[in-house]
């Protein structure tokens, strides 16, 4: 498309403004976490700059507990939703079967559903089944919402799957299991890794579903919310910033893995 310089500059300016506003709250959080005083007021003198809240956050066994619970939920959610997502992506994009159209609509249903209500519904369901909610019941709740996302992410890769590779393997006498483990899984690996990435991160930051489904265990976003509404101290934004850093590190690590698997699959399977 032909774009004039002024047009491009105009769009860039607009995008810049949107991004600035978008990151304004993050900036505020960082500012608040570095303030020494218990009650935040801006601007504060530079002598009041401190990292003590970060130290407190790192040393607090309480915070470590919440991080542990959040990590456990994220881990279990990622494992379940990637395994389920792998198979349903094949059903979604690879195989032709009756019911596929309906299945495709069904996959999207949980995404178009308010999370807080889903959390409540699950709470009542657990109550009915006489299950005491704990971290793992929250992981089930997260999986219900995240498995559709992993399905879509892996499906994008599965659409590009070259069916003839599987057919060729079958013609040469490979068993179903061999086809799956030697052809299908390696080819879909990048999609699965990005799905894992999505699952961990979405579960890590989720609040609406955890709110009702963690029971006595409390995840990090829940704790942050409770402390934001009552009993504020700069420890809260400090933990917030740290949790953002953890998320960013996870993103970088997983992008690294994606890059690496991409190269590996490219070298192990002859290009076509």
């Amino acid at each position: 498309m032909i774009v004039t310089r002024t047009q491009k500059a105009g769009f860039s300016l607009y995008a810049g403004i949107v991004l600035l506003i978008f990151y304004f709250p993050v900036f505020c959080i960082i500012v608040a976490s570095l303030s020494e005083k218990r009650f935040f007021s801006f601007p504060y003198p530079s002598e009041a700059l401190t990292t003590k809240w970060y130290e407190n956050a790192m040393e607090s066994p309480q915070v470590a507990d919440f991080v542990g619970i959040s990590l456990r939920i994220a881990g279990l959610t990622a494992i379940c939703s990637v395994i389920i997502g792998f198979f349903s992506a094949l059903a979604y994009a690879r195989y032709r079967w009756k019911g596929r159209q309906t299945f495709r609509r069904l996959v999207l249903l949980p995404l178009f559903f308010p999370q807080s209500v889903l959390g409540l519904a699950l709470l009542m369901w657990y109550n009915f089944l006489d299950i005491t909610p704990a971290w793992w019941t929250a992981a089930i709740a997260h999986t219900v919402w995240i498995a559709p996302i992993t399905t879509l992410v892996i499906s994008i890769q599965a659409y590009g799957l070259d069916e003839s590779l599987e057919d060729a393997a079958r013609d040469m006498g490979a068993s179903r299991w061999q086809i799956l483990s030697r052809i299908t899984i390696p080819l879909l690996m990048p999609g699965m890794v990005s799905a894992t990435c999505f699952a961990i991160l979405l579960s890590w930051g989720n609040f609406a579903l955890s709110l009702f489904t963690t029971g006595a265990d409390s995840s990090l976003p829940e704790w942050l919310y409770a402390r934001m509404t009552t009993g504020y101290q700069p420890l809260v934004p400090a933990v917030g910033v740290l949790s953002v850093i953890v998320a960013v590190v996870l993103v970088l690590v997983l992008f690294g893995i994606i890059f690496w698997t991409n190269r590996k699959t490219r070298s192990s399977i002859p290009s076509h």
Binding site: A15, L90, A91, Y95, W97, L120, W125, F207, Y225
Partner: protein, 292 residues
């Protein structure tokens, strides 16, 4: 000769069905059953936790006798305003990402995707710190410009700002996908034939990117109608939404049946909207595959 039934059973159709099974089981036990549970619980007598009693419509009578319709209305108003504002904010940005920027588009995409992984609460809390009395905005204005302002929080526009902010990615990315589907030659041809910018937008861009617009609107609508934190953190007690009504029935009031009945109405409302919209637009187009 007909293939024996067992052979047919293990054909490609069967494999497809088999691989959809884990997901379908998850949906059955993690989505459908809980929702049925909600609907059923809404029919139980008030203030009970026991699910095995004679059904009654008492909760629905209570709901229609009280002012719950007000909070439903507020939720609708907030959700619809969020969608409309996001159309205006996101369309130019999505257009730029899809058609104009090259590397810059990736940068914006990454910057916005990364924010998705930060808990919604933390980001909303950033606005609280920015807008509270002596917060980042107020403090800056009073120190450097000598303008004294009170807290900017606890009003309706700031709730909408919070929702627009949190749900921006859910409008932006479907729009980018939608706008990518507009073929450039069509736009160029229209310009060559003398169409004005506005005409190209109305007659070409908008209709061709409509699937993206619809999906984005739907996502944002559903997410923001169920939102709890925005109205609570930024709005104080200014507005009570249906989602926070439901939440308080489950927490403070401890009236699960009434909360369930409210949830049932709420679910029915959202389902009607979503099904109406989904029946009119085909999502497959967005994923770039023709339906076969």
């Amino acid at each position: 000769m007909n293939a024996p039934p067992w052979k047919k059973l293990f054909g490609p159709g069967f494999i497809g069905m088999l691989s959809s099974t884990p997901f379908l089981l998850l949906m059955l036990f993690g989505f459908v059953a809980p929702l049925l549970c909600v609907v059923w619980f809404g029919l139980m007598p008030p203030k009970t936790f026991d699910i095995l009693q004679a059904p009654t419509l008492e909760n629905y009578k209570t709901i229609f006798g009280q002012t719950y319709f007000k909070s439903i209305l507020w939720s609708l108003v907030l959700a619809v305003s969020t969608v409309v504002i996001l159309w205006v904010v996101c369309y130019p940005l999505a257009f730029a990402i899809a058609k104009i920027f090259r590397g810059g588009g990736y940068f914006i995409t990454y910057a916005i995707v990364t924010s998705l992984f930060v808990s919604e609460n933390i980001r909303l809390f950033g606005w609280v710190i920015g807008f509270m009395k002596n917060g980042v905005v107020g403090g800056t204005l009073s120190k450097y410009f000598d303008i004294q302002i009170d807290s900017l929080l606890y009003n309706i526009p700031v709730i909408i700002l919070g929702m627009v902010y949190v749900y921006l990615p859910f409008m932006l990315f479907p729009l980018v996908l939608g706008i990518r589907m507009i073929p450039d030659p069509v736009r160029e041809a229209a310009f060559d034939l003398g169409a004005s910018r506005w005409q190209v937008f109305r007659k070409i861009d908008l209709p061709l990117s409509m699937p993206g617009v619809m999906i984005g609107s739907l996502l944002v609508f559903v997410l923001s109608i169920g939102a709890i934190s925005e109205a609570k953190m930024l709005g104080g007690q200014k507005v009570v939404t249906i989602a926070s009504d439901i939440e308080s029935e489950f927490t403070y009031a401890q009236n699960w049946p009434l909360g369930s009945a409210l949830s049932t109405l709420f679910i029915a409302l959202t389902t009607v909207v979503v099904f109406f919209a989904l029946s009119r637009f085909d999502l497959e187009k967005l994923l770039g595959k023709k339906t076969s």
